[in-house]
Symmetry: D2
Subunit: 404 residues, 4 copies
C-alpha cells in the first residue's frame, strides 16, 4: 500500500499545473469575452482551438485513453490529471482533448469499432478535429431503467432506420459535432439487456432534427455545444454503422460508464478544490462586523469539512481507478457506483458553501461558482439518479446475507 503518485504522474501533474497557470487561467476571461461577442449563439470561441494546439504541442493530449490509441496512461495515472483539468472545466478538458462526451465515445470506438469506423470517426476525434455526441436520455421515460428506452433502431435491408426523441444530448449543437452514438431498441422482445443496440449517426443525416437547447438551471452551456433535444424521424444509416452487434447496446453502455465516472468524479474534485480556494480567498479579504469573514467559526467549520470530505472522496476515486487497472470494470463495480453516489453530492455541498461565502456574487456570472454548482448538481442525476445506484449497491451488499 502506497499513497504517493508515481513519477510519471508527478511529472505530468507538474507540466499540467504549469500549463494551467501560464495558459489556461489567463485564457478564461478571453474565452468569456469571445463568448459574449459571438454572432452564432452556439459557436465555440476561437481561443479554444489555440489552447488545443498549445496543449498538443506540449504533449498534454488524449491522456484519458489507455492503450495504443491514447497517451498510454493507466486510469490511476490519468485520474490526478483529470482532477487538475476540473479546476477550469470549461477550457482545460477540451484543450487536452479529454472532454466529455468525446472521451466516452472514443473509448467505445476504440473498444467496439470496426477498422472502418475507427478510421472514419475515432481518428479525427483523437486529433481533436471534430466533436461528437452520445444520445441516450429520453424525455418521455425514466431512462435510468434501460428497458424504458423507446427509440427504435430497426433493420431495413442494408440500413438501420431510427425513430425516437432524445434530450440533454450534450455537445450536439457544437457546430463541429459531426457524429452521434445513438442508443435504441432493436429487439423489444429480446431479453431485458439484449433489446438495445447502438448505431453511429452522422449529425447531418436527413431526419436528424436538433430541436432546441435544453437548459441546466438557467445555463444553456452554449460554450460547448449545449444540451440538445433531438428528434430522429426515419433516419437511415448503413447497416455498417452498427456498433458491435445487435443487442449489445446495454453492454456497451456499461463498458462506457466506468472510465467516465472516474473522469467526471476527478474533475468534480478539481472543481471542489477551486471552490474551496475561492472560499478561502474571499473570506480572508472581506470584512464584516469587525473582522475578516474567515474568522467566523461557522466559516471555519465549512472549510474544515470541505477539506476532510475532499480528501476522502479523492482517495475513493483513486482506489477505484486502481481497481479498474488491476481487476477491471467488473471487479470495480461497487466502487464505480460508490464514487457516483458520493462525489457529486459532496462537491455540491462544498460549492454551495463557497457560494454562500461570496454573497450575491456567488450566484453571478462574475465568479465560476454558480456554473460549477450546476455541473455538480447535474451529475447527481446523470447516468441515473444517485438513488438508483444506492439501491443497486445495497442489493449487492445484501446478497451474501440472503444466501446464508
Amino acid at each position: 500500500m502506497d499513497f504517493a503518485y508515481d513519477a510519471r504522474t508527478e511529472q505530468l501533474r507538474e507540466q499540467l499545473t504549469d500549463f494551467l497557470e501560464t495558459t489556461i487561467y489567463p485564457a478564461e476571461p478571453v474565452f468569456h469575452e469571445q463568448l459574449a461577442n459571438r454572432a452564432d449563439p452556439w459557436a465555440v470561441p476561437p481561443i479554444v482551438d489555440e489552447l488545443k494546439a498549445a496543449a498538443r504541442e506540449r504533449g498534454l493530449w488524449n491522456f484519458f485513453l489507455p492503450g495504443e490509441h491514447g497517451a498510454g496512461l493507466t486510469n490511476l495515472q490519468y485520474a490526478p490529471l483529470a482532477e487538475l483539468t476540473g479546476r477550469s472545466p470549461e477550457l482545460a478538458p477540451v484543450a487536452l482533448n479529454c472532454a466529455a462526451p468525446d472521451t466516452g465515445n472514443m473509448e467505445v470506438l476504440a473498444m467496439f469499432g470496426t477498422e472502418q469506423q475507427r478510421k472514419q470517426w475515432l481518428r479525427p476525434l483523437l486529433d481533436g478535429e471534430i466533436r461528437s455526441a452520445f444520445a441516450m436520455t429520453e424525455p418521455d421515460v425514466a431512462s435510468s431503467d434501460a428497458t424504458n428506452i423507446e427509440t427504435r433502431i430497426e433493420r431495413d435491408g442494408d440500413e438501420y432506420v431510427i425513430n425516437g426523441r432524445k434530450w440533454y444530448i450534450s455537445g450536439a449543437m457544437n457546430p463541429n459535432c459531426r457524429i452521434m452514438i445513438v442508443m435504441g431498441k432493436s429487439d423489444p422482445d429480446a431479453d431485458t439487456h439484449r433489446q438495445q443496440s447502438m448505431v453511429l449517426v452522422p449529425r447531418d443525416t436527413p431526419g436528424v432534427h436538433i430541436k432546441r437547447g435544453m437548459q441546466l438551471f438557467g445555463f444553456d452551456d452554449s460554450s460547448h455545444g449545449g444540451h440538445a433535444e433531438v428528434e430522429f424521424r426515419d433516419v437511415r444509416v448503413p447497416a455498417d454503422n452498427l456498433l458491435s452487434e445487435e443487442g449489445s447496446g446495454f453492454a456497451i453502455a456499461q463498458a462506457r460508464l466506468g472510465p467516465g465516472r472516474i473522469h467526471h468524479c476527478m474533475r468534480l474534485i478539481g472543481m471542489a478544490e477551486r471552490a474551496l480556494e475561492l472560499l478561502c480567498r474571499r473570506t480572508t479579504q472581506r470584512v464584516a462586523f469587525g473582522k475578516p469573514i474567515a474568522e467566523q467559526g461557522v466559516v471555519q467549520d465549512w472549510i474544515a469539512e470541505a477539506r476532510v470530505r475532499i480528501e476522502q472522496v479523492r482517495l475513493l476515486v483513486l482506489k477505484t481507478a486502481w481497481l479498474m487497472d488491476t481487476v477491471g470494470n467488473r471487479g470495480a463495480h461497487t466502487e464505480i457506483q460508490s464514487i457516483k453516489i458520493t462525489t457529486p453530492s459532496t462537491v455540491e455541498w462544498i460549492i454551495d458553501k463557497a457560494i454562500q461565502a461570496h454573497g450575491a456574487g456567488g450566484f453571478s456570472q462574475d465568479f465560476p461558482l454558480a456554473g460549477l454548482w450546476a455541473q455538480a448538481r447535474m451529475l447527481r442525476m446523470a447516468d441515473g439518479p444517485d438513488e438508483v445506484h444506492k439501491r443497486s449497491l445495497a442489493r449487492r451488499e445484501l446478497k451474501k446475507y440472503r444466501q446464508q
Copy 2:
C-alpha cells in the same frame, strides 16, 4: 389558541384559488411564449397587464398593505394569500400588485413618505402603473453589515449628490421601473446606525447608469426586470427626495424587513407546495424498474419529510405574522429572524427533491422547478446570509444567561 383561518381569509383564499385556476395557471404558457418572442430582452409580456386588470376587477389587489392605503388586511390575513401567490411566483404576485420590491417600497412610502412623495410615487405604485427598485446591496463589500455601505449621499445646497455602485437591484431593468429607493452613507462619522440615509432617485435621473443584468444561476430573471448592476455617478436629486430624515436609513431598512420576510417566506411555502405537487404527480406517472417511482421507499421518505417540514415552517411564519399584528415588529424580532433562517433552506431542500424526481427535466425550462430552486437559494442569502441571522438570534438567546 386557534389554528383556523378567519372567515375573511377563507373567503379571499377561495377567490384567489379560483383566480389561480381559471386565470393564472392558464396564463403561464402564454407568458412564456410571449417572453420567448419579445424584441426587447427586458420587456414585460403584455399578458401581465391583462392579469393585473383582471385581478383588480375581482378585488384581488394590494392585499399586502395594511391600513387605509391597501386592502386593510392584517399580516395574518395576508400571509395565507401570499402563500397562494407563491404557487405561480412569476405571475400571481405581480397580477395582484403584491410583488417585491414594490411591496416593500410602498410600505416605506406609506410609513415614511411625505405627502408629496406619497402622491408622486405611492399613488401610481398602488395603482400598478409603475414599478420600482430598492438599491441596497453593493458588489465591493459585505452588505450584511450595514456599516460597510460605501455609496455616498451628500448634501449640496438644495440637492443630494449620490455616488456609488450597487448590484442585484431587482426589477431595475423593467422598462416600467420609474423610481429607486437608494441607501447610502450621509454621515460616515455618525453613530453606526445613524450613518445611513435613503433617498428617492427617479430612474431617468442623469448619472444613473444601468450597467448590466446580473445572473442568478444562469437565469437573468428578465421577465420581471432582472437584477441590475447600477452605477450612480454624481447623481443629483432635490433635497425633498430624502426619506424621513438624515441618518434614518438603517431604521427604515429595519422597518421594511419584517413584512418583507413574511411575504417572501409565505410565497416560498407556496412554491414548496407546488414543487411537492409536481413531485407527487411525476412519480405516480413515471415507471422505473417495474413500478411507479412513487412506490420507491426513498421517494416516499422525501414526500413525508416535505409535508412535515412544510407544515412546521408555515405555522412559524403564521405565528410571526400574528406577532407582528399584536406586538409589532420589535416584539416579533426573534421570529422574524427565525423564519428567514429556516424557510429558504427548508424549501430549497423540497424543491431539490422534486428536481431529482424529474430526471433531467427537473433542470430544464419545461418545468418551473429549476427557477423555483434558484429563488429559494437566493433567499438563503438575501437580507444577509442565514449565518448572520443565526449569530444574532443566538446572542439574544444567550443574553439572559449572561446576566445571571
Copy 3:
C-alpha cells in the same frame, strides 16, 4: 387564528412553573440520592409519593384526561402543561399522575372499560394508588406491523388463556404495578385488523413471569419500573377481563396512540428546552482558548438552530392537539404521524449538541443530558420506527394524485 394560550392554560402554566421551581427541581437531587441508596433495585424512592401528595393538594392532578374522569382540560390546554413536565421527566409527570404508560391505560379504561373494570382499575389509577403496564412489543417479530403479533389470547370456557413473550414493557417492574393491558391474537384467521384483542391481566396472575429488565443504552430506568421482558405461560384471566370485544385490539391501540403522541412530543419539547438551557448556561460559564465557549460561532449556530427548531415543532404539536379537540383522532391522523416523525429526531439533535457542549460531563450521571438523550432516541422507535410512519404518511399524500 390566535397563537396565545387561553386564560385557564396560562393560569395552570404559572401554577405548574411555580411547583417545578419550588418543589420538583429541589427534589431531583434527593430523588437520586434515594435511588442510590435503596435496597430493592426496582423500588421507587419515597419522595415520589410526597411529590404526588403535594401536586394533588395543589390541584395539579390528572391533567391529561379529558372529560369527567380527569381535570376536564382539552388536549390543547393540557399540551403546554405536558411540555413543562418534560423539564423534569423523571419526577414531574409521575407527581402529577400524568406519567406513561398509566395515562394511555387510563384513557383506554375510560373509553372502553366496563363499569366493573373502571371501578377496579381506573379508580385506583386515577387516585395514583397503583401503576400499570401496557404489553404490546414482542422480541421475536417486527411489532410495528400489528399482524406480526404472536402472543395468543384464546377463549377457554369463562376464561382467556394467554401465551407469549413481550419485552420493553415499561413500568412492569415497579413494585406498585398491579395491572397490565395485554395485546394478543384472538383470531389469526380474521381480517388483518380484527385478529387482535386486549385483556386486563393482573400482574400477580399465575403464569406471568417477569424475566428481566431490558436496557436502554446502558440505562435500566429502574426509577420508574424499568422495561421488562415478560413471559406469559398459560396465564388465565376471567373472560370479563376482555377490553371491549374480541377483535377490537387494533382499534383500541389506534385510539390509544393519538393523545399519547401529543403527551410524548410535548414532554420532549420540555426536555429540549431544558437541554438548551443547560447548553447556554454551560457555554457562558466555561472558557476555552481565551473566551467563553458561548462566543464560538459554531455554538451560536447550534443555539439558533435549536431555538428555531423548537418553535416549529411546538407549533405543530399544538396544532395537532387543537385538531384532536376539534375534528377528532381521525381528522388529525396526518398531524399525529407528523409529530411522531419530527419531534424525537429534532429533540435528539438538540440534546446531542447540549451534550457536546458539556464535554465528558455530558455523558455522565452528573447531568440529566445522557438520560434525556436516551429517551428521545427511544421515541424515534417507540410506536414503530419513524420510517414506517413516513411511508404511511406519504401514501396518504400520494392518494389524491393516484385518483386523477
Copy 4:
C-alpha cells in the same frame, strides 16, 4: 500508488480473522455471563486472561508498537489489524495486548521513559501482566484547551507533590491497574505549552482516591476498569517518576495522540463493519408489511450510504497511517485531525441506523449495538470535541491565503 495490503499484513489479517472466528466471537457470551456473575463489580472476567494467553501463543501480540519493543509493524501494517479488533471491541484489543489506554502509555514509556521506568512499567505492560491509566481530563475546566489544566505537580525536594481532580480516567478501576500517567501543571508561569509535566503515579500511592465510576450513557464500562473520577490529595512520588523533563507534558501528549487516533479510528471502522453486518443480517431475517425489511428502499439507502462512507473513511485513516510512517507525526498533522473529525461521526451514523433496524432490541443488552454507539459518540468528544479540531484545521488551510 497501490491500494493492496502488503503480504505481511495480509497474512496477519488472515491469522487474526481466524482467531476472531474460532476464539474471540465464541468467547463473547462467556464473557458476558462471567460479567453478570462476578462478585466484585469491577473485576475482569477470567476468560480475558485465557484469551490473552491464546493470542500471545499465536503471535498475535503487541502489534501496535513499532520498533524493537513491539511486533515491529508499521502504522500502515497495524491499522488493518486494529480494524479487525474493533469487530469485538471488548475482547479483541485486550486479548492482543493492544487496548487503550495501555497502548498510548506504552508508547510514551518507550519513547520518553528512562531505562528504569521502562524496566519497571513498560516491561510488565508489554507482557500484559498489569494495566495502566492516563489521567488528563478534569471535571472543572474545558480540557480541550491544555492551558486550562488545574492539577498541580510541584517539586518538593526529591519528590513531586500532586494535587487535583481528574475524571473519565478509563481503566483506573480495573483491579489490575497499577500505574497512572498524570498530566498537571508544574510551572503555571511558563510559556503556554511549557507549563505542563507528566509523572508516573502508582495507583496505590497514598493520596490517590478513586472516587467513583463515571457513566457513559448509562454504561459504567466496568468490564474494562470503567471511567474513574480520581482525586489526588498531596500525592507524593519520587522525582525520578517524572517523564522526560519538566515542561514537556504538552509535547508528550501531542506525541501520544497520533498513533492513538489511528488505533481508535481503525477500531471504529471495525465497529462500523460489524454494525453493518448486523443491520444486513437482521433486515434480511425480519419481515414487516409482507416483505423482509431489507427490501425497504430506505433501509437499502442506509446500507449503501454506510458502505460508501466506510470505504472513504478507511482510506483516509490508512493514508494517515502511511503518512505517519513516511513523514512522521508532524507531517501527518492535518490528516490526524481529519480522521478525528470524520471517523467517529461517520461510524456513529452507521451504528444509529443499525440500531433503528433492530427495533427495541437495538437499545438492549442483547445486541452489542448500543454499546458500540456509546463508544463512537464518546470519541466525537475524546481528545477534544470535533469542533476544536475543525477550527484548528481550518486555520491551517487559511494560512496560505493570509500570506498572499
